[in-house]
């Protein structure tokens, strides 16, 4: 089998194939047999292989630092500087909406702090501790609940007294009438008309006697009860 021939035209056309390892083994062998001894191909090969080596060693140039920002400005829009952002923030504070919001927030804070027991006259850092805030708020809530309960209870008592006094003014008190009277045809201790047993009768008689004694000793109380019963 005769070895493959390599010509100068092939070198002109496929020199880079050799440099980039794209030749087959047979082509590579033919290339190496021809080129070093060829007056046309040898200097060409030397120049181009040197050039390629040098091209691979050339470093990239640095892009200007402002280029990235210029690209971002063009694509995403101009970006605000720190001072521009600060100025915009202060400008937005001048609106009525912001002032109203800030005032509402301040009032809310004052109310919450007052409710939590914070003293504005004698402010202490310890009062702002979450545990103290909770404790003070809890204590104040219980005191407020107890006061309101007592207030409504007092109102009820006063109302009750007033209504009793009105009733008494309308119906004058008769001490004797205030005593419970025996129902006609009924013995003490009997509610349904049936004749009570001797033991039950004795107990009812005893209670009635006790009531008579109490009526003598506490006429005011029995006058109120009697008036109510008399109605």
């Amino acid at each position: 089998m005769t070895p493959m021939n390599w010509t100068c035209e092939q070198t002109d056309e496929r020199l880079s194939d050799y440099l980039d390892n794209l030749l087959s083994a047979e082509e590579r062998a033919a290339f190496l047999r021809h080129v070093p001894s060829c007056a046309h191909c040898a200097p060409l090969f030397a120049d181009v292989s040197h050039l390629v080596n040098k091209l691979h060693s050339i470093a990239e140039v640095d892009a200007p630092p402002q280029l990235v920002y210029a690209i971002l400005d063009q694509t995403l829009g101009p970006r605000e500087s720190f001072w521009q952002r600060v100025q915009r923030t202060f400008r937005s504070m001048g609106t009525a909406r912001f002032v109203y919001g800030a005032a509402s927030l301040a009032v809310t804070c004052v109310v919450l702090l007052s409710a939590s027991g914070f003293s504005f006259r004698h402010p202490k850092m310890a009062d702002l501790h979450p545990v103290n805030i909770y404790r003070n708020a809890n204590s104040r809530a219980h005191v407020a609940y107890a006061r309101s309960t007592k207030f409504f209870s007092d109102l009820r008592v006063v109302n009750e007294i007033q209504s009793r006094l009105r009733e008494n003014e309308q119906a004058p008190i008769n001490q004797e009438d205030s005593l419970p009277q025996r129902a006609p045809g009924k013995e003490p201790g009997s509610t349904d008309g049936t004749k009570p047993g001797p033991r039950q009768q004795n107990r009812a008689d005893g209670l009635y006697r006790n009531l008579e004694v109490l009526a003598d000793e506490m006429p005011m109380t029995f006058s109120v009860l009697g008036g109510r019963n008399a109605r």
């Binding site: 880079s16 120049d47 040098k54 140039v61 200007p64 990235v68």
Partner: protein, 189 residues
Amino acid sequence: MEQDAQLVQQCLQGDGSAWEELVRRHTRRIYNICYRFTGNRTESEDLSQEVFLRVYRTLASYRSAHGGFATWMTSVTRNLLIDHYRRTKRDRATDSLEDKMPVVENKESAGRRPDEQALLGELSGQVQFGLTKLSPELREAVILRDLQQLEYIEIQRVLGVPEGTVKSRINRGRIELARILQQMGVRPS
């Protein structure tokens, strides 16, 4: 690459920070392609902005199934560069040499000695000058292959031409650039 696709999805959902991240990740690469193609820093800056603006507007048309985001973006860049080349063809006749002066690179982290750095800086300027003498088709092929170090398949996608054409352009571009550098007196060491 997957991270790029994820960032693109976030951008499409209106996430400005995702777009910012994409810009930061690709600005340097896009700027370098533009710079190597035009040889002019100011033009490269303007073109880079134009590229990102176009990418931002057409982001919804990007499909990850058709290749990586970087490749798609490079393709957008290449189209803009060709448009720009055609637009400014007449003006280039009066271009001053000022824009084509050699540029000193900023890759000090590579740990090169100062004399090597100076040499490479000189070579970079010479290569840059030689690149601007190539036709746009050969220039873009060499930039993508040897300076951006893309694979052939990626270059094929960016340029939208068959593999054979890509190989041919890269080969002709290298030979032509070597010849230009030789004429400038740059010899292999």
